[in-house]
Every structure is written in C-alpha cells, then in structure tokens.
C-alpha cells in the first residue's frame, strides 16, 4: 500500500491526466456507444464498420479483443480525444444558439418599448452629466487637430475669392462704367473747347503780314 502511494500513477497514464481527461473519456465513450447503437439499430453492417474505422473511433484491434496496458491507454486516449471534440462542438453549438436567442429576444424587447422614453423616465441624465469630468474629456480631444481639419475642409481661399470677387458686382461695374462715361464726356467737352480755340486763333496765325 505504501509502495503504491509512493510510486503513484505513471506519468502519461490515464490516471495521471486528471478529472478533465476522465470527463473527456466518459463523453467520448458515451458518444461512441450512442453512435454504435444508432448504427446497430439501423441494421447497417457497413455503417457499423465505418463507425469503428472512422477517424476518432476506437481502433478495430483495440475494440476486438482484450488489450494490454499500452493498448488500454491508447484506447482511453482515443476516447478522450473524441470526447474533447464532442465538447468543443457542443460549446460552439450552444454559443451560436445563445447568440441567436439573445439577438432575437433583444429585438423583440426593443420593438416593444420606447427606449428613449424609458431612459428619460428612469435615468437621471443630468446627474450623470454632472459626474462627467468634461475637462478631462476635452483634455483628451485633439482640439488643434480638429481645428486644422475643419480649416482644411473649409476652402478659405475660395471664400476670400468670392468675397473679393463681390467687389465686381453689378453695382461696382455700374460705378465703373459711369466713371468711364464721365471721362468720355469730359474728353468730348475739352475736345470741343480745343477745336474752338484753334478756330479762333488759326485765322490770326494764318493772316499774312502786311
């Protein structure tokens, strides 16, 4: 007895691998039994053979006769791997089912309530906002970057161009044209004066000396 306790289970043996391993073995054996029972119930001899030879199934030489200790370990390990695969598969299915269920329930609930009104009725938003450290929030914002982004988005050059271009509006054009007309009018007036001046002085200049 003492000798057995001192030596303990051999490393790598089925007893050494712990309760999780044992659970995997149980699950693997259960699924194997279920698979074989279903196959036998159907009376399909070929199906039984396939279940026995399929990857993950117990090897034929293991199942066919009483194994030695190594063969028992191999068999148990095979059952454990099968059980682990079954567990993973089951976890995936349960997780997927839970996701679908939660999503469906959430949609049903949200379709039947006014969430905004519910929040207004049951949540004191003001007290929450008062507890928020706005300075810290603002401190985390890249205000300079935001400003640069806004300035980059706004075409300041185009705005300046338009504002200065407004100077050439119809009013200014009208003033300019009136100025040109005034210049032309003064030119005509001075031209007439010059002509009269020349006519007045031309005979005197052309008069022959006595």
């Amino acid at each position: 007895m003492d000798t057995a306790e001192a030596s303990g289970p051999e490393p790598g043996s089925a007893a050494h691998r712990g309760p999780v391993f044992a659970l995997d073995v149980v699950i693997g054996a259960s699924t194997l039994v279920v698979a074989r029972t279903v196959a036998a119930g159907r009376g399909a001899k070929q199906a039984v053979a396939t279940a026995l030879q399929a990857p993950g199934a117990v090897p034929g030489h293991v199942a066919g006769h009483v194994p030695g200790r190594d063969r028992v370990d191999s068999w148990v390990s095979e059952l454990a791997r099968r059980g682990e695969r079954e567990q993973d598969e089951l976890k995936d299915r349960v997780t997927s089912l839970a996701d679908d269920l939660v999503r469906a329930v959430l949609h049903l609930v949200l379709d039947r309530i006014d969430l905004t009104e519910t929040v207004r009725q049951y949540v004191d938003v003001n007290s929450i906002v008062q507890d928020v450290d706005l300075d810290a929030v603002i401190g985390q914002l890249d205000v300079a970057g935001l400003a640069e982004g806004v300035i980059a988005e706004v075409d300041i050059a185009e705005i300046i161009r338009q504002s200065t271009g407004s100077l050439t509006s119809e009013t200014v054009q009208s003033v300019r044209m009136q100025g040109i007309s005034g210049d032309e009018a003064i030119d005509k007036a001075t031209g007439r004066i010059r002509v009269r001046f020349r006519r007045k002085h031309a005979p005197t200049a052309a008069r022959p000396e006595p």
């Binding site: 200065t164 271009g165 100077l167 050439t168 200014v172 054009q173 003033v175 300019r176 044209m177 100025g179 040109i180 005034g182 210049d183 032309e184 009018a185 003064i186 030119d187 001075t190």
Partner: protein, 165 residues
Amino acid sequence: MSLGSVPAEARPFQGRPAGLVTRTAAGVVDVIVVLALLMIGYLAINGALFVADPRHFHFVSVSSVVSRTVGLCLLIGYLAVAWWLNGRTYGCRVMGLRVVAAKGGRVRPLVALVRAVICVVFPIGLLLCLFGRRRRSLPDLLLRTAVVYDWRAQLPVVTLPAPSP
C-alpha cells in the same frame, strides 16, 4: 491674361488711359480709406491707454499740425506701397484703374514713392490729364507712368496704345 472676367461693354476700354472723373473718384475713395485708418489708429491708441490705466484715462489730444502731418505721411505711404505692390489702391480697385510704368509693367518702388509725394503735395497736377489724348497728369509726365482702365484682379502686361496723330 484674358478679359473673360470683364463685362463685354467694358472690354474695349481695358488698357486705355483713364480720365479725370475716374481718377478723381479713386482719389476720394483713397482719402476716405486713409481717414478711416487714422480714426482706427486713434481709437486703438486710446483703447490701449484706457486698458493700461482706466482711472486716469482721457482722450489723447493731437494738434492739427501733427494730425495733418501724420495723415499726409500715411496717405503717401499707402499710395506708394499699393502702387508698387499691385499697381492699384483700394480707390483704383473700386474704379477699375491701375497705375503702370511706361512699358506697361509694375512701377518701381522709388517711382511709386515719388509719384505718391507729387500726387499728395500737388494734387492740382491731375488736371493736366484733361489735355492730350494720352490723359497724362503731372506725375505721369514727370515719371513716365500712366493710369489705365483695368478691371482684372491680377497685374497684366498692359500695352499702352500709341498716341494718335
């Protein structure tokens, strides 16, 4: 530079020498601009004094000699810099005018400064543009410059028309 931005009715006048009316109107606008600048400067100085010492604040009194001198200097500087940089003051811009050199380009800084001094000290010299088809005022005759109609925003290469016989 194209005349695409200039209305069709004004295109025949582009590059032609400007007359007395438009030049006088531009001058009046420039004087108003300088007076506004003087007022703004005066208010700014008083505002600074008020901020510095509100209890003992009182408006700064400026003698007429000082104010006129500052005003004339500001007007000369404003005209010279504007003519040198862009060929046009704000008044010229409003009236669609531009001051150009004899060959049509931008006037040199010294020419712009002398022209501004002559225009401010002896404004009656503008009346000389009434005589002669090239509408040259006294500073134009002395400095070989010209004032032309130019409604375009940028400084173009202006070719002055040859004097008619």
